[in-house]
C-alpha cells in the first residue's frame, strides 16, 4: 500500500464526513424551521384562548384567566367532584381553552356548596385553596343587561332573580323607583352589587324570559375600572375631611343631548 493510496483514502473519509456534516446541518436547519413554524401556529391558537366567551364562567376560586391558563392541568377532578354536574371540561369546539373546566350559568349554575368540593382536590392550585368561604368566590358578576325586557323594569312583579339569589339582599336588591308609565305604581329594579355577587349564576338560570335579561359575565367583561389617577371628590372628602378642590366650580347646567345647539336650558 503506497502513501498515495492512504492519503486518497483519508481524503475520501474527510469528504464523507463533510457530506454527513452538511446533511446534519441541513436536517437541523429544516427541523428548526419546521418546529419554529409549528410553534408560531400553536401560539396563535393558544393566544386566542385568552379571550374566552362571555358565557364562560370558571369554577369558584379560579385564578385570574392568564394564571389559570398557565396552571390548570385539565384533569377534570373538579368536574368529578362537583355534586351538581355544574362543571364541564371544554371540548375543542367550546368557546374556551380546550380541556379546562367551565360552566354555563343558564344551563347549570353553581350551587355554592359550603365545603367547596370542586377546589379540595385540585392538583395544580388553578383553583386556589385559599378560598375558604364560598361567599368570597368571584366566578363572575351578574348584570341586568336587557332593561327593555326585564319584567320588573316594566313594572311587573317577577322578582325571580332576586328571590333565588343565595345572597339575597346583599348581592341583589330591589330598588324602588317611580313607574313613569302608569304614574301611580312603583318599579322594583333588581340591582346587583359587585362587592357581594359571587357570579354563581342562579339568577341567570332562573330568569323567566326565554332568553335571560340578567346574565352573569366574567368579571373582566362585566366591570369597568377607574383611571389610576381618578378620584371622586366626595369620597376623598369623606376620607380626608377636606375638599379635593377647595374652590367652588361654576359649571353651566344643561340638558344632555343636543342642548348646546338648541340652547335648551334646564
Amino acid at each position: 500500500m503506497s502513501a498515495g493510496d492512504k492519503s486518497n483514502r483519508d481524503k475520501g473519509k474527510t469528504a464523507g464526513r463533510n457530506v454527513s456534516r452538511r446533511r446534519f446541518l441541513t436536517e437541523t436547519a429544516q427541523a428548526a424551521c419546521a418546529v419554529g413554524l409549528l410553534g408560531l401556529g400553536l401560539t396563535f391558537v393558544a393566544e386566542k384562548s385568552r379571550v374566552h366567551a362571555a358565557q364562560v364562567l370558571r369554577p369558584p376560586g379560579a385564578l385570574p384567566e392568564d394564571d389559570f391558563l398557565a396552571s390548570c392541568l385539565r384533569c377534570g377532578i373538579c368536574v368529578n367532584d362537583c355534586p351538581y354536574n355544574t362543571l364541564k371540561l371544554a371540548t375543542p369546539e367550546d368557546p374556551v381553552a380546550t380541556g379546562t373546566p367551565w360552566f354555563n350559568a343558564r344551563e347549570i349554575p353553581c350551587e355554592m356548596c359550603d365545603d367547596i368540593p370542586c377546589i379540595s382536590h385540585c392538583p395544580s392550585g388553578a383553583l386556589s385553596p385559599e378560598l375558604k368561604d364560598i361567599d368570597d368566590a368571584r366566578m363572575g358578576l351578574a348584570v341586568l343587561i336587557d332593561r327593555e325586557n326585564c319584567l320588573n323594569l316594566q313594572g311587573l312583579r317577577c322578582d325571580v332573580c332576586y328571590r333565588v339569589c343565595p345572597l339575597i339582599d346583599e348581592a341583589i336588591t330591589l330598588q324602588r323607583t317611580r313607574n313613569t308609565r302608569t304614574q301611580v305604581h312603583a318599579v322594583f329594579e333588581p340591582v346587583v352589587h359587585s362587592d357581594a355577587c359571587t357570579g354563581c349564576g342562579k339568577c341567570e338560570q332562573a330568569c323567566v324570559l326565554d332568553v335571560a335579561a340578567i346574565k352573569v359575565f366574567p368579571r373582566e367583561l362585566a366591570q369597568g375600572e377607574l383611571g389610576k389617577h381618578y378620584r371622586f371628590g366626595w369620597q376623598e372628602e369623606e376620607r380626608t375631611g377636606e375638599k379635593l378642590v377647595p374652590w367652588e366650580n361654576k359649571m353651566p347646567a344643561r340638558m344632555p343631548g343636543n342642548s348646546l345647539n338648541d340652547g335648551g336650558d334646564l
Binding site: V35, T43, E47, L69, A70, G76, P92, G99, P123, G125
Partner: protein, 293 residues
Amino acid sequence: MSKRRPATEAVAVKGIWKAFRFLWLRRLMQLSILGLFVAGPVLGVWLISGNLSSSLILGKVPMSDPLAVLQSLLAGHPVVAVGVIGAGLVIALYALTGGRSFCSWVCPVNMITDLAAWLRRRLGIRTNHRLPRKARYWLLALVLALPVVTEILIWEFINPISLVYRGLLFGLGAGWYLLAAIFLFDLLVTSRGWCGHLCPLGAFYGLAGKYSPLIMSAARREKCDDCMDCYAVCPEPQILPMALKPKKGFGPVLKTLDCTRCGRCLDVCAKDVFEYQVQLKNQHPLIPVKAVE
C-alpha cells in the same frame, strides 16, 4: 415482501398464547386502566378520579403527568404540592419500569398507532415518508419552550394522549379529528410516524427511563436466523440491529431510550431470542441509535 404476517412461524412453534401474550397483556393493561377511570363517571365507582393529565387514586394517592406539571412550572405557576408529588411518583414509576413502558402499557394512543401499523402490514402499504427519528426531541423542546414564552400550556391543547382520556371521560367533541389524523398519518404517510418519530411525551418518558433496570435483551442472539419478524413488529425497528448483531461495544441488551418494552419482539420470535431482563448495574452505556430507515 408484501402482506406479511410476522407471527406465523412463532404461532406454529410456540403456540398462539406465547406468540401473542405480551400483546394481549398490554391491551389488557391499557384497557383496565382506562376502565378504572371510566368506572367513576359511568358506574359511580370512584377508584380513580381525573384523567391521564392528573388523577387521584382512592381519593388519596395523586398521579400527575410530569410533562404537564413541568410545563406549568415553566409557565411560572407554582404548582401545589399534590401536583408535584403526583408528577414525582409517575417519574419514579417509569424510571424503574423503563420510561417508554408508558407508551406500550398505558398510553391509549398506542392502540391507535398499533392498529395503523397492523393495517399497514396487512394491506401492504409501502409508502413511507422519511422523517428524522429525533424530531420528537425537537418537539419536546418546543413543548417546554412555549410555556416559557407564552405562559400557556400550549401542548395540552393538542396533546392526543390526554385527549383520548378526556374525550372518553368528559366528552371529546372535535377531538376525534386529531386522533383520526394520527391514525391516517401512521397508516398512509410514515410508518410509526407519530409514536416513533414525533410524540414529545414518548420522548420525555424515554429520557425519564434512561437508567431503568428493566430492559429487553436479545439474550440468545446466536439463534437468530434473520427471519426479520421482529423488525416487522417493533415500533422502533432501528434499535434492533445493535442488539442482534454482535458489534464492538454494543450489548445484546436493548439499552436505548427508544425501546418501549412492549415485548412484541419476544412474542414474535420463533427462536426465542429475546427476553426481559432486570439489570441493576448499568453494564452497557445508553447510546442514541442512529436511524436505520
